[in-house]
Symmetry: C2
Subunit: 112 residues, 2 copies
């Protein structure tokens, strides 16, 4: 059986202009424990780009229970420590819902 196509997720998040340098520096060496938690929860091919004061993320999810895996990531103690470092550098976009940090944006075109 061919492997199932991954679920693609893109999202946006604000970056505070005065913290761009620090944000980019720490993202050159994200903690291995944080990366391992993402992989263990079926996140792959995950990239973050910056356009001025906006971060754009693209990731692929290969598991079968997205909500459960995202909850497992959020519950990981090292990930919580990482987010405690990164969140003060960021700011939610106006359009983000109360339950969102990264604001998911809809796919309008795809070519495999």
């Amino acid at each position: 059986m061919a492997p199932k196509a991954p679920k693609r997720i893109a999202a946006v998040l604000g970056i505070k202009p005065e913290h761009i340098g620090q944000y980019e520096a720490i993202h050159r060496e994200v903690w291995p424990t944080v990366l391992a938690t993402l992989k263990r929860n079926h996140v792959q091919n995950f990239s973050i780009y910056r356009y001025e004061n906006l971060l754009f993320s693209y990731m692929e999810y290969t598991g079968s229970n997205y909500e459960e895996d995202m909850s497992a990531i959020a519950a990981d103690p090292e990930t919580k420590r990482w987010w405690a470092v990164t969140e003060p550098l960021q700011s939610k976009v106006l359009e983000a819902g109360a339950d969102e940090w990264w604001h998911e944006i809809p796919e309008k075109f795809h070519l495999d």
Copy 2:
């Protein structure tokens, strides 16, 4: 030999608010000839997302001469016709260079 990792390219482009509906409608049925030209020139896993009046694109390039393949895409008559339809719906972002339509944005993090 393991296949070489693709080159990842992300970019932004403005979408005129009054043309969002038309842009999204035509992107649900992009001409097969246009898609075939992309594939033939080593573009894969190409997605476009929209955040308000901004389009985000993510694509992977698997060839060995990016400039040459992009030039071949730009020279394709059907692709030129397609762009003649889509460009009036779009607007370059302020940060785009004179030689850019889509404005490439830098990757700040990646996890395979």
